[in-house]
């Protein structure tokens, strides 16, 4: 008798110590796992059936979607993928029924692209390159539409996805329920949404997540290279150093960082996503494509190289990770530099930097983590003390 509630061990594993969601991509072996040791037999059959169906598809030659355990799964919400501002207004002003009816009326009209659209297209481009080099590999980006929109709106969403020829094969339309459980079920590596509450919930559950905002003037972005920029503290790293700045000032901070130069910082919420990107990058390096690698990562930090930079670089090294460019601004505004880099997405924990980036046309995503969140101030001071004690 089938037990529908039994989950293979790996899927429910969520190490509560590190703020990071693990799946096969972050295992040190670096080899693709054909199937987990506890894999459910019927799920393997599920997989074989889909493979067969896709390979024999009479209609268009769409590439086969990867198994979630092998892929880097990016979950995007409908409002970040498409511009749904008008429709949202109808929902807020006239209620659910009218909103659904409105969407049904416009069902055949595709939405216009939203703020995560360029990022998604860049991911698809990387996939195309990966498929060329490794035709049988499943270590690819898998883009999932994760929305708590009503299923009736789904038709219009899928019509829009088809209109722009986006490779999104999987979706969850939760009809109002929280998407967090589904994020875990899909082994999500990064979640992007306009709803900061959901993003916070995801981060608390150990899933890398960021809140996106509408961006009016966008810079012309590369369509051959995916560019991702990260802030350091409280994004890639924990907020332990930021706490020192806020509590004891810059001088203490510099002294502290020099003293603990060789002690790696703790992980931040987006460390695992950088790790996943690094894994894919190494696949290009292995084929002699370091210079023309279609993925480029940047660290854009307010730290200064001289006094606080070493610890950051040593921490990355200790994790076995690298960034292509590490930019230390020593407190200078990030906006102009980002304008030069033109990333498809920039992650930062402080709204001040997000706004600075947006003013100069960069698509920025806020990571609601750490002491930088004013309204969390009371709560985080407590937990950070606990964290410090543990490390000692």
């Amino acid at each position: 008798m089938l037990r529908g509630t039994e989950l293979p061990h790996q899927r429910t594993q969520n190490t509560s110590e590190s703020p990071c969601h693990h799946n096969n991509m972050s295992t040190p072996e670096g080899t693709e796992r054909g199937g987990q040791s506890n894999s459910d037999n019927s799920e393997e059959k599920d997989w074989a059936a889909v493979k067969a169906l896709f390979d024999n598809a009479k209609t268009r030659k769409k590439p086969r979607p990867p198994k979630p355990s092998n892929a880097v799964t990016i979950a995007v919400s409908s409002r970040t993928l498409f511009n749904m501002v008008k429709e949202r207004k109808v929902f807020e002003e006239e209620g659910l029924e009218r909103y659904v009816a409105h969407q049904l009326e416009l069902e055949d009209q595709p939405f216009t692209p939203g703020v995560s659209f360029p990022f998604v297209k860049a991911l698809m481009n990387v996939n195309a390159h990966l498929r060329e080099l490794y035709p049988d590999s499943e270590e690819l980006f898998d883009i999932v539409l994760m929305t708590n929109n009503h299923a009736q709106v789904g038709v219009r969403l899928i019509n829009s996805i088809n209109y722009y020829d986006l490779t999104i094969e999987r979706f969850c339309m939760t009809g109002g329920e929280s998407p967090i459980g589904y994020l875990k079920a899909y082994m999500t590596n990064l979640y992007l949404s306009k709803d900061s509450k959901k993003v916070q919930e995801a981060i608390e559950e150990g899933i890398a997540a960021a809140t996106m905002f509408p961006c009016d003037s966008e810079n012309e972005l590369s369509d051959t290279q995916l560019r991702v920029a990260f802030d350091g503290d409280a994004v890639l790293f924990s907020d332990e150093s930021e706490i020192i700045v806020k509590k004891h000032g810059l001088d203490t901070f510099f002294r502290h960082e020099k003293e603990f130069e060789n002690k790696p910082l703790a992980q931040g919420p987006l460390k695992c996503f950088l790790e996943a990107l690094g894994k894919l990058q190494r696949k290009f390096y292995a084929k002699n494509q370091r210079i023309s690698c279609p993925i480029r990562t940047y660290l854009v930090t307010a730290r200064s190289a001289a006094s606080a930079g070493a610890r950051v670089l040593k921490t990355l090294r200790s994790w076995g990770l690298e960034v292509d460019e590490a930019l230390f601004l020593a407190g200078a505004p990030k906006g102009p530099l980002l304008q030069k880099i033109k990333p498809h997405i920039f992650f930062d924990d402080q709204m001040f930097h997000i706004e600075g980036a947006q003013e100069l046309g960069t698509i920025a995503a806020h990571v609601p983590y750490g002491i930088g969140q004013k309204y969390h101030k009371g709560k985080h001071i407590d937990t950070s003390d606990a964290e410090k004690n543990e490390k000692i």
Binding site: M1, L2, R3, G4, T5, E6, L7, P8, R11, D40, S42, E43, K45, D46, W47, A49, V50, K51, A52, L53, N56, A57, K62, P65, K67, P68, L96, E97, V100, H150, A151, Q152, G154, V155, I158, N159, I161, N162, I168, E169, R170, F171, C172, M173, T174, G175, G176, E177, G181, Y182, K184, A185, Y186
Partner: protein, 276 residues
Amino acid sequence: MEDEKNRTGPLMIALQYNDLFDLDSISASTNTEDALPKGRAVAFVKAVQTVNERLVEQNKSESLLFEVILIAKECSEEIKMKIVESVKYYGLEIGKFFFFKKEELINTLQSNKVKLFLSTDRDDVCEALHTGIPAALLYEQSDDHVLSQLKVIFSGDVIGFSEDSLDSLSDFGFSETQIETLKAAKICMKEFAVLIGQMKRRFGQENSPLCICVLTAWGSTNVCVSALKTLREWGLDVDEAFCLAGAPCSPILAVIKPHIIWDGGLHNMRDLSAHS
């Protein structure tokens, strides 16, 4: 009044007693005076009762209500009494009890105009579908989770695939009989969907006691869209939709926590085709 009742309702659902009560956990030390231990179907019956309560709230003379009947193998009078008592003990509204010999299962279901036969046993579901009885899987809820909603999943693969596509499944090792069963299941699903759709329309979109989901395990997003549109044609509004494109089902199902899964016996068939 009598005519109206015959035309629309009730929507009869049949359960097996070994799904309603957890007979495996009865041991020699169990006190025979106590009621039988609860099984996986109890949460389902409670959810159904909630729907009925809400329907009657809207309309006191509502005839399109759920009616749950219990079927059990022929057994001693003592056990029969035990079953009836336990049902009362848990406050379950069971309309009728049927005790029969194993071979008579199909006849019993057919002669009682059962609109849906629910079981946690995939083989039973498949067998019933085979003989044209609408049957679906009763999902095993992991905890004593009492939902204020009845959640039903329809397979987007079965509803969304056209006749031609269903026929082409023979290329993947599905036998003629299996394909015919899928087609028959689709017809049963339609009947059930129409009735549930009528029930659902008694309520608004928000706070409805009925939650309808479409889960497409294999098919592409277009298959899912086709399923959504088909269900709309049949008069049923869908609340949640999932397209898995081959990703494992069980983690997703564990989050959805449905009561009923209408997949036309798809999962069982895959196993069969592997053996043939």
